[in-house]
Amino acid sequence: MVTKDFSIRINGTAVGPPADPRVSLLDLLRETLQLHGTKKGCDQGACGACTVLADGERIVSCLALAVQYVGRNVVTIEGLAGDDELHPLQRAFIEHDGFQCGYCTPGQICSAVGMAAEARRGVPSHVTPDLTVGEVELTHDELRERMSGNLCRCGAHNGIVAAIAETCAGERK
């Protein structure tokens, strides 16, 4: 019997872990919960389409076994904003045409939310010039480097970067 203690919180709702321990967090979302917003592009951690936030940190849900997330808080693209609302980043993606087919988009958006938090915490990247500063400024290079785990084959990179830059800059004001 599933008790409250053994549940995963997904977009605020408690969900029992799968009976089959092989089920990835990504497949739990897509196949069991019908939360299809989280996409599968490779199932091997190479494309970022499946990115979700686990306790605020971005993870690739295809490489996560669902049972490992018992007791954790998972937010997917469906949970980023209220039902009828759009998250500012979602609005900015539309405005800057930060997608074409839209398949990589939920992963890009969730990844950007987690990425901005990492920069605020001062987590350095490969291009961070000074590892000792607190908050890392999201320059064009920092932003592109930190988003490079999210592939986009349609080539919406410029729009994605513009949308994130605008939104993150807005948050700082």
Partner: protein, 770 residues
């Protein structure tokens, strides 16, 4: 008042004429070209943006059907031979397994009708699918497992044991060429052209270049892997698919399963990128067959590896380009010949000489494309087939001529600008490439380029600039048809079995329809990608926009005729013919007397009608026979090459396009950037590694096939001439594939300018520059 409002105001004062019956000579251009009601040309955000950013847009693997089972596949591990033993007993007994399908129990099916062999044929190849024990390529599906969950299906598939009797296979390019090649055949012609004696002219030329260029296998790698969700309802097959040709596919599936076309419905409301790769392949047929056998709905989502195994990509090529030029730079001879790898059916020849057939004037030509068969998953169309890799060769060679002559490569190109199509002699419908060159050079700062290679340094980085021409054939498909439904509230719904895999079809067509019918964009809904809708429109050849545009124009003529039948005797439109009226402000008006106007709502109300629906087919694409029709571009690139590591970074890129009228600058810019970024991958990182001993693809994963990532992509600048083509619907030409052409050469030419190294073998990885 803003410009847009100005334009709207003036549009409201003069009715828009109906489009001509066809785009044949004498019928005049599409009146929409001159008309500016503010809808066409507006930078409108995508109509499907909301669902896409919320993750609420349903893709093919996201249709949940009751009682559905999951499919997993087993792939062959030899290139050619037969299955000797096939043990499925353990898999069949595994938990959750519903069915194991192999050649022993698969239903009898006809091979896929090969694309291009008949009007509606969609198949990527015509090989038998699970009908015998033969193995025809390394990676072919030899078993399908259906189980209650994906995990159970994958697990059971891993327990199927197969042994093979191998036979000698052709898996090396050298062997394939030695076996004998065949001339490529495309659009009803052999790709073999000789004008004058090009070899003699080359030998006699003042300067000449003669080199071999190589391009590797590539895969589309749409981020959405191919997937399909299928169900049989007694004898009716419904397939929700990641497809770029639903109409062709429905007919083809009916043919394969021996049922009527009406018994198959294929939908593809959202497709996560296609790029030429999302046609009909064996996995959709296997999914439908397994669903039939198990009598359960099936979801078959290919793994990323599965896509590489079952879906072909761009073929490898080896091209000779030789150019002879006089001291003034004029070309005396152009030779573009070579060989591309091909599947047995030769359905999608990688006809790399395309760009050479229309780009430059020359005293003599020799063009020839040979195909060499290899035992491997059949190749297919990938964004700008032929042109993407062919333009790398010809545009690199032109740069080499410029170096040999000591001439500016842009001036050299302009000097060889043809007056008419250099091969067919036909006039160009609209060619303003020289304007694109001039505008691009100005904007990019071409004048600052140091023509001497290897001389501009920034620390350990060598900096260079390069350019190349882009070109892509104009195509309008013959199967365009549309249904317009006008309701009494004045709104319209337009249905066409076309596709939107991210190109922005629905957004741009919504704008065009609004303008053509004199409505606001909010009053228009464009529905698409359902084989039950009118039209046979594949998302191929950058041809959808004009194909749909012509169909809607044809349907509008019928709609207007029907509306005029409905107008009452006291209507301002009473007694007028279709030739006398035009569209104005949500209704019709007399062309020379706009005050005689009646709204759609009023016409329908007067006739007591809730709605009126009409359907029509577009006239045949005769414009393609009358003119030489292409989109063009002048591509500019700046690279930085690390002198120590050989790493290349593209630091600036500009595409200066000449592509007819741009319908939506926002989505068009994205299309152009997308093509340029795929061209960046083609130039620098992308290669499908093929083991020539075993015939197996060695890097079937996004970890080992290197797509450009955010850090690789600079801000890409795009401009266009905006000159409408007088011979096309809306004055538009194709834009989806144009910008991948020329990009590879622009980058390679910039690398030469930076380093003095001429790399003729893609991709240009650091080892080639060290």
């Amino acid at each position: 008042m803003s410009n847009v409002e100005d334009a709207k105001q003036s549009a409201m004062n003069s009715p828009l004429e109906l489009a001509p019956d066809s785009w044949a000579p004498g019928n005049g251009p599409d009146p929409l070209i001159q008309h500016n009601g503010g809808r066409i040309g507006a930078s409108v955000s995508r109509v499907d943006g909301g669902p896409k950013v919320r993750g609420a847009a349903p893709f093919a693997a996201e249709f949940a059907l009751d009682d559905m089972v999951y499919a997993a596949l087993v792939f062959s591990t030899i290139a050619k031979g037969r299955i000797a033993t096939l043990d499925t007993t353990v898999a069949e007994a595994a938990p959750g397994v519903v069915l194991v399908m192999t050649h022993r129990n698969a239903p009898r099916m006809r091979p896929m009708p090969l694309f291009g062999t008949s009007e509606k044929a969609a198949g990527a190849d015509s090989l038998p699918i699970m009908q015998d024990d033969r193995v025809r390529w390394n990676g072919q599906a030899v078993a399908v497992v259906l189980a209650e969950t994906r995990e159970q299906a994958d697990h059971a598939a891993s327990m199927i044991r197969v042994t093979y009797e191998t036979e000698p296979a052709t898996t090396s390019f050298e062997q394939a060429k030695a076996n004998g090649t065949e001339t490529a055949h495309l659009f009803g012609h052999d790709v073999h052209i000789e004008i004058g004696d090009a070899e003699a002219a080359l030998a006699a030329a003042h300067v000449s270049v003669d080199a071999t260029y190589r391009t590797p296998y590539q895969n589309h790698n749409a981020i959405e892997p191919h997937a399909t969700t299928v169900a049989w309802h007694s004898d009716e097959l419904v397939m929700h698919d990641a497809s770029q040709l639903v109409g062709h596919q429905a007919w083809s599936l009916a043919h394969i399963f021996g049922i009527e076309e009406e018994q198959v419905r294929v939908t593809a409301p959202y497709v996560g990128g296609a790029f030429g790769g999302k046609g009909l392949w064996s996995h959709q047929v296997l999914a439908a067959a397994a669903a039939k056998l198990a009598d359960r709905p099936v979801r078959l989502a290919l793994s990323r590896e599965g896509v590489y195994r079952l879906v072909g990509g761009r073929a490898r090529t080896e091209q000779r380009v030789a150019i002879g030029a006089g001291a003034d730079g004029r070309f005396d001879a152009i030779i573009h010949t070579g060989t591309a790898v091909s599947g047995r059916d030769k359905a999608a020849p990688e006809a790399f000489a395309f760009p050479t057939q229309s780009s430059y004037a020359a005293g003599s030509f020799q063009i020839d494309v040979q195909l060499a068969y290899q035992d491997m998953v059949t190749n297919t169309t990938m964004r700008a087939p032929g042109e993407a890799v062919g333009s790398f060769a010809i545009e690199s060679a032109v740069d080499e001529v410029a170096v040999a002559l000591g001439m500016d490569p842009i001036e050299l190109r302009i000097r060889n600008e043809p007056d008419n199509d250099p091969i067919t002699g036909r006039p160009f419908s609209s060619r303003h490439l020289v304007e694109a060159w001039r505008a691009g050079a100005e904007r990019f700062g071409w004048a600052k380029r140091n023509p001497t290679p290897g001389t501009v340094r920034d620390g350990e980085w060598l900096v260079g600039m390069g350019c190349a021409a882009a070109t892509h054939l104009y195509v309008r498909q013959p199967g365009g048809a549309a249904r317009i439904t006008l309701t009494s509230d004045g709104n319209v719904t337009v249905d066409v079995a076309a596709h939107d895999a991210g190109m922005g079809t629905a957004t741009a067509q919504g704008q065009v329809i609004a303008e053509r019918l004199g409505l606001e964009p909010e009053q228009v809904s464009f529905r698409f990608a359902d084989s039950r809708m009118p039209g046979l429109v594949a998302a191929l050849g950058s041809s959808q926009t004009v194909t749909v545009g012509a169909a809607v124009a044809a349907a509008q003529r019928v709609l207007v005729a029907e509306l005029l039948k409905l107008v009452g005797h006291d209507s301002p439109l009473a007694g007028l013919t279709t030739e006398q009226v035009g569209v104005l402000d949500g209704g019709l008006a007399k062309l020379d007397e706009p005050a005689r106007h009646e709204s759609y709502t009023s016409i329908l109300a007067g006739a007591g009608r809730d709605e009126i629906a009409v359907e029509a087919s577009a006239p045949p694409p005769v414009e393609m026979m009358n003119w030489s029709m292409h989109s063009y571009g002048a591509m500019f690139c700046e690279v930085r090459v690390n002198g120590v590591t050989g790493e290349t970074r593209v630091s600036r890129f500009l595409g200066s396009m000449d592509c007819g009228r741009v319908l939506n600058p926002k989505t068009a810019t994205s299309q152009f950037r997308g093509g340029i970024i795929m061209g960046l991958g083609l130039a620098l990182t992308e290669q499908t590694h093929f083991d020539e001993r075993k015939g197996r693809i060695m890097n079937p994963s996004l970890a080992e096939y290197h797509l450009p990532v955010h850090m690789d992509v600079p801000e890409i600048d795009v401009i266009w001439t905006g000159i409408p083509d007088p011979h096309t619907p809306m004055g538009a030409r194709g834009i989806g594939e144009l910008s991948i052409t020329g990009t590879g050469a622009a980058i390679a030419n910039a690398i030469f300018n930076a380093t003095g190294k001429r790399i003729r073998d893609l991709p240009i990885t650091p080892d080639k520059l060290m």
